[in-house]
């Protein structure tokens, strides 16, 4: 069973591997930080948030200060999807931002149907009255 985790990541519970949701590439062991299976680039933040004010005249320009702020970009090594961005201080080790208990995930998903796409939503769940035989009960 494959479990969706983020926009670009899923975990194959049977093989315990991180996979890219965009290209299917097997990234590496799911018990490790997914970031160690990516390629990384430290972006000068001024390339994304360009100065709107004349940088020769003004101290603050709408662009972050590159001595204070860098944007780490984590790419899928196969399809180059931008899996995650991390705004950080130059030299700060990348944060291990997502550490999942794989055994817990297996227990929880043993009782759930695999999803082919994220659930999204926001609508309140339908109350599943036993006597009405709603979807999931196996009866019409």
């Amino acid at each position: 069973m494959k479990v969706i985790v983020t926009e670009y990541l899923r975990i194959d519970l049977d093989t315990e591997q991180w996979e890219c949701r965009r290209c299917g590439h097997v990234l590496g062991p799911a018990r490790q930080n997914y970031k160690v299976h990516t390629r990384v680039y430290a972006r000068d933040p001024r390339e994304i948030h360009k100065p709107l004010l004349d940088a020769t005249r003004y101290e603050y320009t709408y662009a972050p200060d590159p001595a204070w702020c860098a944007i780490l970009e984590f790419y899928c090594p196969a399809c180059a999807a931008l899996i995650e961005t991390e705004y950080t201080v130059p030299g700060h080790p990348p944060i291990n931002d997502l550490e999942l208990d794989i055994d817990c995930l297996k227990r929880q998903w043993a009782e759930r149907e695999e999803l082919s796409a994220p659930a999204g939503g926001g609508l309140p769940p339908q109350v599943d009255h036993a006597c009405h035989g709603h979807a999931g009960s196996g009866r019409p």
């Binding site: 004010l53 001595a67 705004y87 080790p93 149907e113 999803l115």
Partner: protein, 746 residues
């Protein structure tokens, strides 16, 4: 006394105990009471009512009536209140059980009061109800604002009233509202220049300001005397009392219709439902840990990189929000957050963005634990100023929201549409001075309510929409403001190009706005946002975050006189005004987005913009048609379309060229792989053991939360000390004197 014999007296210990119990030097805050946010045990009456069988249908009927009573109280207040923030909806009306557990809140307004208002009520019950000089009776109204008694921050005041039926207390009703002006060092009740708790104006632990439904004139006079704006204080005390009386009357009518036990049962059952449902939802999440950090880039007086770090874990049915590793608190800067306000941030993150369908109740935090290092910016002590604690707790909103989404995005069911971080800074102007109506005022512009929303997982974010701390509030009518106050919004609510979080779905864009004093000889402004050097609001799952932004100022000119001469020189955007400099002889400069109060002469222009909501997903996955739409609407520039989204436009028609775009994106993906390194190689070159030299860094570095950096020094977390910042003017004088000495020695 001298003749007494020792042998005839009680033992020393008993004597001491008796003396101490009869002579309280200073009661002070009750940290034990504040620390425990779980719902209390059922009262005897609640137990009896619910044990005898709760009538769910009846309770639901009462709950609906309660909700409309609270919403009615909200409407009554916004229509009568003088506080500008109150008028625009920065308030909440709430109802509590007889023991002070929040049961329900008005649908609109500031969620923070839901996490705060119960604590002063519990304080009154614990310390004053049986105190012969105070007591609690029908018709009482208490008021408070001190954050160390459970308040949100000093400009916010909470008033509350007990509700009695047949001589027995059945509920409390409360109203929390941003009052603003409170006699602090800077007008408006909060500002960058507050250097001690005693600069922050009047600090009220709970005090009874009304008895038998009448305000006590001596106390009203005292409170009015303590503010620059006695009209505001006097009028709003009356409005608060009127609102609470109205809600009380509705509750008593419910008691008469359904019986008081039914009301007591409904109030209690509601919060038990919420606590049980929140616990169930935590158990739905996978166990694990999400780590995140956001850096404040200013103390409000100087640039500084201040870490706010979160490790948010789900384990054994508990959600543990651990903020250790955050910066030490600042002795003389107002950005410190008591842990009670961090709790507010956690609740706001959950209620606004993860479980928006749940009633707005503190009971949501029943399965939540909050940890921080005492003496850090996330668990400030009473020795430091805290009026701008939202600098920290607004980021707790963001980190909580992100953590729950990272843990829960893959779940088969969501209770709210998954959404990237909402913009999280209070970008606005606070004003003070004498108006054209010859009234002394100090308060805030409602522009802080114009925060843009984050991108949704399946759609773009909303442009300047509502604040991250409140729902369904307003940015105010410009004309209404100009009628009351002597300044003009020369640019009002215009979306700034390229000011959004880029992504597959983009975050909402933030608007720009400006103010200029038109009519007053005594007038000034301050501002209190961070985010001029380091982005405050991240993106989600590959999306980019908010840009940074300054305050721009055009001074030493009367723009109204210039425009009277030639209106054609005006430019409708701060970008053009600052880059083209149409006013000859004016001084143009930018400043970090926190500005201590300064006098503004007539016609001097102050310009700001909101930041942006975070983007969602990879920019290269954005539908070219959506890029074209943004371009057409002026949300992004052509340069952004080309350089970030890699869209190729037909040079003749300006339309997207699909084939060339696909080729450009394929080329960019190849370029990503070429310029990046495998993680291990990257980390070996990138990672440093300490913060970069030359950057004033505060807080832990990496995952070691026991060592805290504090500018030039380090300290152990278990020996944490507050940081004392030198006066920026002294620093500047010292630098200039050093330069002078180099000239003198020539």
């Amino acid at each position: 006394m001298n003749e007494m014999h020792r042998g005839e007296l009680p033992g020393d210990d008993e004597l001491k105990a008796r003396f101490l119990s009869a002579n309280t030097l200073f009661l002070g805050p009750d940290t034990e009471l504040l620390a425990d946010h779980r719902i209390q045990a059922r009262s005897t009456r609640e137990e009896r009512v619910l044990r005898d069988g709760a009538d769910d249908h009846l309770f639901e009927e009462i709950r609906a009536s309660l909700q409309s009573a609270l919403d009615e109280g909200f409407e009554v207040t916004t229509n009568a209140i003088v506080s500008p923030a109150g008028k625009f909806g920065d308030m909440t009306v709430t109802v509590f059980t007889a023991n002070g557990d929040l049961s329900s809140a008005s649908l609109r307004g500031v969620i923070g009061f839901c996490a705060a208002s119960g604590f002063p009520i519990r304080y009154v019950i614990k310390h004053f109800e049986h105190e012969p000089t105070v007591g609690v009776r029908a018709g009482d109204m208490f008021i408070m604002n001190d954050p160390f008694y459970g308040g949100v921050h000093s400009p916010d005041q909470i008033s509350f009233m007990p509700v009695y039926h047949d001589g027995e207390r059945v509920a409390w009703v409360a109203i929390g509202l941003h009052e603003g002006e409170n006699g602090a060092r800077e007008p408006g009740g909060m500002g960058p220049a507050m250097e001690s708790p005693w600069d922050e104006g009047i600090k009220m632990p709970p005090i009874r300001v009304a008895e038998n439904y009448r305000l006590k004139f001596d106390l009203v006079n005292y409170l009015q005397n303590s503010s620059r704006d006695p009209r505001l204080v006097g009028a709003d005390l009356k409005v608060r009392l009127a609102t609470l009386r109205r809600v009380e009357a509705r509750l008593l009518a419910l008691c008469d219709t359904y019986g008081a036990n039914a009301l007591v049962g409904t109030l209690r059952q509601s919060l038990e439902y919420v606590a049980a449902e929140a616990t169930r939802r935590v158990r739905e999440l996978p166990e694990g840990t999400v780590r995140g950090q956001i850096f404040l880039d200013t103390t409000m007086r100087e640039d500084a990189l201040i870490r706010f770090y979160a490790r948010i874990s789900v384990r054994d049915g508990r959600l543990v929000c651990d903020f250790r590793g955050s910066s030490p608190q600042f002795m003389n800067r107002p950005i410190n957050a008591p842990i009670t306000s961090i709790r507010i941030g956690v609740l706001m993150g959950l209620v606004s963005f993860i479980w928006p369908d749940l009633p707005r109740s503190l009971a949501i935090l029943d399965p939540v634990d909050i940890l921080a290092t005492p003496g850090s910016v996330a668990d400030a002590t009473r020795e430091v100023p805290t009026c701008l604690n939202m600098q920290v707790f607004f980021k707790a909103i963001t980190l909580t929201q992100m953590a729950l989404l990272k843990l829960g995005f893959g779940l088969p069911r969501h209770y709210g549409n998954p959404i990237a971080p909402w913009f999280n800074q209070p970008v606005t102007f606070i004003y003070g001075g004498v108006t054209q109506h010859v009234e002394q005022v100090g308060n805030l512009c409602a522009d802080l309510n114009g925060m843009p929303g984050g991108a949704k997982w399946d759609a773009d974010g909303e442009h300047s929409m509502s604040p991250n701390f409140a729902a369904y509030v307003d940015t105010g009518e410009t004309e209404l403001v100009e009628e009351d106050l002597p300044f003009v919004q020369v640019i009002s609510k215009r979306l700034l190009t390229d000011n959004c979080g880029f992504g597959k779905f983009r975050g909402g864009a933030g608007y720009e706005f400006s103010v200029a004093n038109r009519y007053s000889d005594v007038w000034g402004f301050l501002a209190l946002a961070g985010g001029s050097k380091f982005s405050t609001t991240p993106g989600m799952f590959g999306g980019y975050g908010s840009p940074t932004y300054p305050i721009s100022m055009i001074k030493e000119v009367d723009v109204f006189a210039e425009l009277a001469r030639d209106a054609g020189i005006f430019r409708g955007s701060l970008v053009d005004l600052m880059n083209e400099r149409p006013f000859a002889g004016a001084s143009y400069r930018t400043h970090r987005a926190a500005l201590p109060f300064e006098m503004a002469r007539k016609g001097e222009l102050y310009l700001q913009s909101q930041g942006a909501g975070g983007g969602w997903g990879d920019v290269l996955d954005r539908d070219p048609a959506l890029v074209a739409k943004d371009l057409e609407e002026g949300i992004i520039s052509t340069a952004t379309a080309q350089d970030i989204y890699r869209i190729v436009l037909d040079p003749r028609t300006g339309a997207v060229d699909p084939q060339s775009t696909e080729a450009a994106r394929t080329a960019e993906r190849a370029a990503r792989l070429a310029r990046s390194l495998p993680y291990a190689e990257f980390a070996a070159a990138w990672n440093r053991d300490t913060p970069p030299a030359g950057v004033p860094y505060y807080g832990a570095w990496g995952e070691d939360v026991d060592t805290l950096y504090a500018g030039d020094t380090t300290m152990r977390a278990d020996a944490i000390q507050p940081i004392f910042m030198p006066d920026p003017r002294e620093v500047r004088i010292a630098a200039l004197e050093a330069r002078l000495r180099t000239y003198e020695s020539c």
